[in-house]
Chain length 202, copies 2
C-alpha cells in the first residue's frame, strides 16, 4: 500500500476531500503525513481531527534548503519515491527541480482551470478577465514547470454572466473536491500510465 | 431584420446548422448570402437546396484585393456593417485587419477548442498531444488576431482515452452545431453586449 503525503498552506479543503474519500471509498493508500508551511493553517486542525500525522515546516532558507526539510519529513514517514505519493493541495510554494526529479511522476497538483488555459496564479480572475464561458479544474502531474505537467483529470464548469472571482472559485472548488480524490484513487490502484504528455487511464 | 452572410470553404456543416436553426427556430435574421472561396465546396449544394444565394469567389490577388471582392459581394447583398452579420464557418482564409475593423463586432467564428487553449490550426490534434481530458468549442467575435476575439459561447466535451483526431473532431463538431446557431440567435435578437473582452448575454 502506498503512503500519501499532502502538502498544504491553508484551509486544506482538497486535503480533507482526499482524506474523506480514502476512508469512505476505501482507497488503498495510507495517509501518512500532512505538511504545512503555515503554522496556523486550518487544514492542520482537520488533520488532527482525522488522526493524520501533521508537521509544520515554516518557510526558511533557500528553496533547496527548504525542499530538503520537506524531503526529510517525507522520508521519516516513509512517503518515498518508491512507495509514496505526494499531493499538493493549496501548497503555495514551488518545489525545486531536484525535488520534482526525485519524485518523478509521484507528485500531483490540482489547478483551478482547464490547463493549458490560465496557468499560474489567480486562474479564476484570469478566466473572468479573458471572458471565458467555460472554465474548470485540472489534476496534473507536477513537473519542473509551473502547471505544465501531464493532465490526469479535468472537469468543466460554466462561467455565468454574474460570476465573481469568489462565485467562480466556489464552483470550481466543488469540482476539485470530486476529481482530486478520484485521481488519487486511480493512482493508488495503479490505473495511471504516463507516456510522454498523455496520461492513459485503464 | 439583420442580413446574414456566411463564408465557407468546405462541407459547410455549421452553415447548414445555422440555416436549419433560422428556419426551425424562427431566428429573426435573413440568410442573404453564402460565399465560398472553393468552387466545389459541398456547402454550395446545401445553400442551393435551401434556396440561399451563393457566390464563389476563388482565391486571387493579395489579401487586400481578395478582401475587397468579399466586401463587394456582401455589399451587393446588403450584408453591411450596419445591418449585417458575417459568420465564418470553416472559411480557411484569414480576413485582413481593415475588413475586420469595418465589420467590428459583426463577424463571428467557431473554433474547435475551449479558447484560449489550442488556438490556430489542428486544435483537436493539439488537444490530444497536450493530453487534455476536456476540450470543446468556442464561438467568438473575430478581431484582428487569430482566435483572439471576445468569446460568446463555449461548450465542453470529454476527451476519452481512445479518442483520435477524427473521433474528437466529431464530438466537438456536434457541439459546434448546437452553440453556433444559438450564438447567431443571441446576436439576431440583440442580446449580446461587448465590454472589453467580456461578452454580456442578457
Amino acid at each position: 500500500m502506498l503512503n500519501l503525503g499532502i502538502l498544504i498552506s491553508g484551509r486544506g479543503s482538497n486535503m480533507e476531500a482526499i482524506l474523506d474519500a480514502i476512508k469512505k471509498d476505501k482507497i488503498p493508500i495510507n495517509p501518512a503525513l500532512i505538511i504545512s508551511d503555515v503554522s496556523d493553517a486550518r487544514g492542520l486542525h482537520i488533520a488532527k481531527r482525522l488522526g493524520v500525522p501533521a508537521e509544520v515546516i515554516p518557510s526558511a532558507g533557500s528553496r533547496a534548503e527548504y525542499d530538503t526539510m520537506i524531503l526529510d519529513a517525507l522520508r521519516r514517514y516513509e512517503v518515498t519515491p518508491q512507495n509514496g505519493l505526494v499531493c499538493l493541495a493549496g501548497f503555495m510554494r514551488i518545489l525545486g527541480s531536484e525535488f520534482v526529479a526525485k519524485y518523478k511522476n509521484k507528485i500531483l497538483n490540482i489547478h483551478p482551470s482547464l490547463l493549458p488555459a490560465f496557468p499560474g496564479l489567480y486562474s479564476q480572475k484570469q478566466a473572468l478577465e479573458y471572458g471565458a464561458k467555460v472554465s474548470g479544474c485540472s489534476v496534473h502531474i507536477v513537473d519542473s514547470g509551473v502547471d505544465t505537467g501531464p493532465v490526469i483529470m479535468q472537469a468543466a464548469v460554466p462561467v455565468d454572466v454574474n460570476d465573481t472571482v469568489e462565485s467562480l472559485s466556489d464552483k470550481i472548488l466543488s469540482k476539485e473536491h470530486i476529481i482530486y480524490p478520484q485521481a488519487v484513487e486511480l493512482f493508488a490502484r495503479g490505473k495511471i500510465r504516463i507516456t510522454g504528455r498523455r496520461v492513459i487511464i485503464s
